[in-house]
Structure formats: structure tokens, C-alpha cells
């Protein structure tokens, strides 16, 4: 059987890739600075130094970058191509999507041998990213609520203060901390799955997040 004719297809548009890499760097910086803020150690010799001050400043600036990136990506779910669209993240809402999810799950659990081969996200991955986007929103809501505590009655405080009515202040801190670990767990899984699919799909998924192109079989 002749090999099917493969061609380069443009899948990931510029906003998708930019947002992906901004998230990548933001999450690393936010986690490193966040772990220090949460479990501070003495790092300064003189009270005139400003180490924690700078660490927090970097954390807050990066938080703004990350939030703009996430919100821009959510905007692009409605403006971009079909691979960036919101339907990719909600496959369980329609019949084909549910079938694809089951197929992918079978492959991941070694039950099936058919590698999921979508042009965009596979159905399980899309569902995982929905969970991740929700975790991003939790991080943004709790993070800005804690940040706004320094300015009682400010715009940001009024925007995020509703959380303190629903949850305890310490509960919000704990949530912000634990979700970081969930996202670190996700990052480990994400890199692994990208490697696995790069090996098994042979569609160049790993390089596609740099170039935007994947190898796709042409329609007969």
C-alpha cells in the first residue's frame, strides 16, 4: 500500500502559540516565585535589602502577563480557526466527540491499538485543557483577591472580594497553593503526552507548537 500523501497543514495560529509559550514561561516564573513567597527563608543580611519585595514584584507582574495571555486565548477560542475554537475543549457535548474520547482513553489505557489522529487536539487532551483553563481561572481569581488585600476598597478588591464572603481567607490561600501543584502535575503529564503522541502519531506534534504546522494526510 502506498503511503498516504502527507502535507503540511497550518494548525496552530500565532495567538495560540504565543499564548502557549507565555503560559509556559509564566507558570515556571509564578511557581518558583510562588513557592518562595509561600515558604520564605531568610535571604537578606540587611533590612534595607528588598529580596522578598522583588520576588513579589516579579510574581505580580508575571501574574498580569499570564492573565492577559489566558484571557487573550479565551478570546481566540471564539475568533480563531477551528483548532483553536472552544468546541475543541468540549468534545463530550456531541456524539463524535464522545466517541473520540473513548477511543483516546482506550489507547492511553493500552486497551486499544488505534492511535488517536486528529488534526487538532485529541478529545481527551481537549477535555484536560478545559480542566486546566478552569484551574487558570481559579488561580487568577484567588491570586488577584489575595493581591488586592493590600488596598481595601480598591477596584480590584471590590472585583475579587466576593470570594471572601464565600470562602475563608486562609482557604483561598490554600487553594492558590494546591492548584499550583495540580498545574505542575499537569505540566509533567502534558510534556509526556506530547512526547508519546509525537512518537506514535508521527504528525510532528512536538514541533507544531513552534512552527504551527502538522503533517496531515490529504483528503482523497
Amino acid at each position: 500500500m502506498a503511503k498516504p500523501c502527507l502535507y503540511e497543514k497550518y494548525i496552530w495560529e500565532v495567538p495560540v502559540r504565543v499564548s502557549h509559550w507565555l503560559n509556559f514561561f509564566s507558570i515556571i516564573i509564578l511557581s518558583v516565585t510562588g513557592i518562595f513567597i509561600g515558604a520564605a527563608r531568610t535571604v537578606a543580611l540587611e533590612p534595607s535589602q528588598f529580596v522578598m519585595g522583588w520576588v513579589r514584584f516579579v510574581h505580580f507582574v508575571t501574574a498580569y502577563v499570564f492573565s492577559v495571555s489566558v484571557l487573550a486565548r479565551i478570546y481566540w477560542m471564539f475568533m480563531g480557526n477551528k483548532y483553536a475554537g472552544w468546541r475543541e475543549f468540549l468534545p463530550f457535548l456531541y456524539r463524535d466527540g464522545r466517541r473520540d474520547m473513548l477511543e483516546a482513553l482506550k489507547y492511553y489505557t493500552f486497551i486499544g491499538r488505534k492511535v488517536p489522529n486528529p488534526a487538532g487536539h485529541n478529545a481527551m487532551a481537549g477535555t484536560a485543557y478545559l480542566a486546566v483553563f478552569l484551574l487558570y481561572l481559579v488561580m487568577m481569581a484567588t491570586g488577584f483577591a489575595l493581591y488586592a488585600e493590600h488596598a481595601t476598597g480598591s477596584f480590584l478588591h471590590r472585583l475579587t472580594g466576593w470570594q471572601f464572603v464565600l470562602f475563608s481567607n486562609q482557604g483561598i490561600r490554600l487553594t492558590h497553593h494546591l492548584v499550583m501543584w495540580l498545574l505542575i502535575g499537569f505540566a509533567i503529564h502534558h510534556i509526556y503526552s506530547a512526547w508519546l503522541m509525537d512518537v506514535k502519531e508521527r504528525g510532528g506534534v512536538m514541533s507544531s507548537i513552534f512552527s504551527g504546522y502538522k503533517a496531515v494526510k490529504a483528503k482523497e
Binding site: A44, T152, G185, I188, K217
Partner: protein, 373 residues
Amino acid sequence: MGKKGDENRNGPAQQHLDLSRMLAERGVTRRDFMKFCTAMSAALALPVTFAPKIARALDEVQRPTLVWLEFQDCAGNTEALLRAANPTVAEIVLDILSVDYHETIMAAAGHQAEEALAKVVREQKGKYIAVVEGSIPLKDGGVYCCVGGRTAVDIAREVCGNAFATITAGTCAAYGGIPAAAPNPTGAVGVKAAVPGATVINLPGCPLNADNLTATIVHFLVFGKLPATDSHGRPLFAYGKRIHDNCERRPHFDAGQYVEKWGDTGHRKGHCLYRMGCKGPETWHNCPSQKYNDKTGWPIGAGHGCVGCSEPQFWDTMTPFYRRLPQVPGFGIETTADKIGLGLASATALAFAAHGVISAFRHGDESEGAKED
């Protein structure tokens, strides 16, 4: 405060008093009085030009009646108020209030005392100020706290419901406090929860800072209304800033100098208590500026972290007091969020490493390549 022997106490509810004469009789100079008025304008976050206005208003003060109710409490707020080292101008200003009922300090007892309270409610409806100390139990019909055969909630409904305003003295009266801590056997709540219709101004703290009570009353005497409050019903002049943002140890926080163990070098040098679980970053109170015991000290100044005593449900939500983060539900006390997180990340890495090894040695997977769609 509240000397019952005052000969004017049987007069009408609002009575003109000559404060200057009272102060002179007690050996307080005009200068001391003006200093007090300046301190009060500072406590209320008013410009210094308000000091003469406060002095004038206090000179011409009308005499409001005050009743002080005690429910599920330790009388610590009464103690905080009464145990001042010297008779201060603040106390004398409080003296001009007619304290018609206060279980701890009143001379009357039994039915005679209860009659005094009933008289205030009857004759000065909507005009007197009620101060409440202690939480109100609601469970089992409120039987866990009864005074003179009536339940606390019953008394609170009548007294607070008919008052011009109710000031809650301390965290128990404001939010239930320690009696309301889990498992809250008596169903204790604060005044606002027990009597939703009452006008309540919360002055939490364990104990409350007597200066804040004085300032709230001075605000009422000067402006004839209650001060602006936050979403927890606390006056903004006293609870509008976080402890962390006014803390004398804040430079050590920003620098990165922390107490890492009780009694270590950092502790002896007065470094930041953040690592030791100080709840200053999540507590709103003016402790760093007002302090306690005639402004001589406060917990962080004494080398102990803040426990967040002026926040709702502090006993349940701020614990463990010596840790930054609360315990993760379902895990042991020694298991911190970071240990759990690290375990989670390691387990993920191991699981996917195993999955990867199996996948790498697995042949015969059918890969068709993505189809154009």
C-alpha cells in the same frame, strides 16, 4: 466607667453635662484633654483640624444612655476597659455616658438590675446604645445562656432590636468567636446573626481595643451618627488597613529576614514572623498603630505572630496558628500542602514514566496520520 452614684442619673435621657468641670474635678488639665481630642481625631483618621471640633462637641455633649450586655463571654473586654493603669481622659469621656446596666460593675442585683434594663428599653426606645459582649447561643432554643431566666437571644432581640445602635465588644459578640468554634456545641452566633434587624457596629478583637470603643463613641457624640464600616460591619477607621501593611516588622518581610525557629537569631533580632504563621497578612485591625495596654505593646511587638483574632471564625480558619497554611482536609496534621503537592508531582512523574516505558516497547500500534477534515 459608669459610676452609678452620679446624681444626675435619674434625669432625662439626654442631659447637658459640663465636661470641662468634670475634667477639672478629676485633675485632668485642658492640655491633656486637647491631646486626647487630637489622638481621637488621629484614631478616626480625620485631619488634625478636627481636634477643636471634637473638643467643642465633647464639651457640649448630650448624655446618651448605654447598656452593656454580657452573654457567652469571659468578660475580657470589660477587663480590657476597666484595667487601664491610670484614669485616662478616655475613661472620663466614657463616664459621661450613663451606663444604666452592666452586670459586672453595677451595684444593683437580681430583679432590681433587670428592672433597670427594662426601664431603659421601655423609656428610651430607639435612643440608647447597647454594647454586647459575648456570643449568643441559638441551639435548643438558646437555653445555654440565660440571664434572669431569659435566654440571651430573647434579651438581645428586645434590647438590641430597640436600641439606636448596638456596638459589639469583641469577636464573640461580633461573629461568635471562640464559643462558635467547631463543633460549636451551643450554636453560638454574633449579634447581627442573632438579631438581623438591629443596627450593629462590630468592634472585634480578643479583646477589643478600648481605644477603638472610645473612638466609636466619640464619633457618635461628635457627628451624631455611626462611622462607615466594611463588609464585616467593622468601622473603617480601625479596621480599614491590614496589620501586615502597618507592621513595624514589615521592612524585615520585604527584605527577606524571617524568624525560622522560636528563639533563633532572627527571633531575637525582631525579624518578620511570617514563616512562623503570623496572620498579619490576612487580618484587618489597627493594632500596629493603636497597640494595647496604654499603647505599650501588642502581640507582634512582643515576638508572637498575629492569630487573626478580629476576623470572623478566626479559631477555625486561622489555625494552625504557627503555620502559614491551614491543614489540608483529610490529611494528618504534619502533612503540609507542599508535601502533598510534591507527592502528587512525583506520583504523576512516576506513573507517566511507567506508561512511557510500556508505550516505548509496545509495537503494532495503528497510526494512520491525521486526516484532513
